[in-house]
């Protein structure tokens, strides 16, 4: 379990970093927190010739909360998001998702950009980005662009990033004040990779019916994704126990799942059904002021 040999660079600017990436034409990898890349290298599943450490580049680890949403710098570490009290109102779903990520020590190093670029099917952040219609801000040697989250992850551990490109930040659309939300995942031990998970949010109209329903699932198949059939089913209805149960059954029938050494396809489908049912009930019954700081949780 020793890493294969590589060169190491720690540039001070984005321009230097993208120039290095372009020069090495796919043989170099950026390293952010390293919490996924280093295990991959230890297993020899990745063997870049050059690691480009982004730690010295300034301005990549800010959390900016504005009128049009929350912009999170790519080098923002999970522990920063956990400690950012203003997110309790500005994006409670993001904080809840981050609470579920790995372990204490890993949250001290791991970054939001690194998790997105790694694109593990069981990771929380790509699923959250897709559920919330986030946008990924990317820069490369030939310029910058913005990629919709749903077009970003293309396969397990594969994104639409080009070899010379880096993530600089992620923008989550503005959080609505009375939005209902939940994030639930299941793993055999806390902090392990989830066998399945659900992220969702919706609004309620004057009659208490659900609108703007977003339902994302992860950990079951090749990439995280939305459950459009369930979103359509819930839209326009009042979310109660019976509706949540029916939606759970629908999720179980519609979700794409695969068998592996950790769980069978049938198990994962049933798990998603149960998690979705619970998540809808949790979302529908939670009062905004009941949300507490995640620091003590």
């Amino acid at each position: 379990m020793k890493l294969p040999p590589f060169e190491y660079a720690s540039p001070g600017t984005l321009q230097e970093a993208t120039a290095l990436l372009a020069k090495h034409n796919g043989e170099a990898r950026p390293i952010a927190g390293g919490q996924s890349l280093l295990p991959l290298m230890a297993y020899r599943l990745a063997a870049p010739s050059l690691l480009i450490d982004l730690a010295k580049i300034e301005g990549l680890n800010r959390i900016e909360i504005g009128e049009d949403g929350v912009q999170v710098g790519a080098m923002t570490r999970w522990c920063q998001i956990e400690a950012e009290e203003t997110l309790t109102h500005a994006h409670p779903l993001m904080r809840e998702a981050v609470r579920n990520i790995a372990h204490y020590q890993i949250r001290n190093r791991g970054t939001i950009g690194g998790s997105l670029a790694h694109a593990d099917p069981a990771a929380e952040m790509p699923a959250l980005a897709i559920t919330c219609d986030a946008e990924i801000y990317v820069t490369g040697a030939r310029g910058s662009r913005v990629v919709a989250a749903k077009n970003f992850v293309v396969a397990p551990l594969e994104t639409s990033l080009k070899p010379d490109e880096l993530i600089t930040s992620i923008r989550f659309p503005r959080w609505q004040p009375h939005r209902r939300w939940a994030f639930l995942e299941f793993s055999k031990r806390r902090g392990d990779f989830a066998l399945g998970g659900v992220a969702l949010h919706f609004e309620e109209d004057a009659q208490g019916h659900a609108t703007a329903v977003h339902v994302g699932v992860f950990g079951t198949g090749e990439t995280p994704g939305r459950l459009a059939a369930v979103e359509d089913f819930v839209t326009g209805k009042k979310v109660d126990a019976a509706l949540a149960h029916a939606a759970g059954r629908m999720a179980r029938a519609n979700v794409q799942a695969a068998s592996d050494m950790h769980a069978s396809e049938e198990y994962r489908k049933a798990l998603i059904g149960t998690l979705l049912e619970r998540a809808l009930i949790e979302a529908a019954t939670r009062r905004t002021e009941e949300w507490k700081s995640c620091k003590s949780a």
């Binding site: 379990m1 020793k2 590589f6 190491y8 390293g34 295990p39 372990h103 020590q105 902090g191 003590s296």
Partner: protein
């Protein structure tokens, strides 16, 4: 690469290959074998050390990434004139170890936690050390020890 770091309050300078993890660097180049290595891919928590005040897995960090950082290993927890820190004394009192392999990672994790959050309750302690595998004790005595040691960190905060 030539790097410098402050290790357990002492300035050290060394030449290290980029591929060497902080864990291997500490053990093999700097002789700090109190840092234990088991899984070497970030699952077990045995190799936890404190970098700039934060508990991190030293198998998931390159030594070159610790350049100019302040690093504390289990060897650096007790004061020079004392055999144990209050946290280590609490582990001894509560028999919070059997084989001892996970202990240095438990101690460094708990030290970082209590330094930042001296009022951490049992639930918080449990959730934090969920990232440290112990295959002997069943965690109850470890949680007891960490919880009791919190008092020493609260006293430290007041003085």
């Amino acid at each position: 690469m030539q790097i410098r770091m402050r290790l357990n309050q002492e300035q050290v300078e060394l030449d290290v290959q980029p591929r060497v993890t902080l864990a291997d660097c500490l053990r093999h180049q700097l002789g700090k074998t109190g840092t234990h290595l088991a899984c070497e891919h970030g699952v077990c928590g045995a190799c936890t050390v404190i970098v700039n005040g934060q508990a991190v897995r030293s198998c998931l960090m390159l030594a070159v990434q610790a350049a100019d950082a302040e690093v504390t290993t289990v060897e650096g927890l007790a004061a020079d004139d004392a055999p144990f820190s209050p946290l280590q004394a609490a582990f001894r009192k509560h028999n919070a170890l059997q084989c001892g392999f996970c202990t240095s990672g438990m101690l460094t994790t708990a030290h970082a936690l209590l330094t930042a959050e001296p009022d951490a309750d049992r639930d918080r302690i449990r959730s934090v050390i969920a990232g440290n595998l112990c295959r002997c004790t069943g965690y109850v005595s470890i949680v007891d020890a960490i919880y009791e040691a919190g008092e020493a960190y609260r006293v430290g905060e007041r003085s």
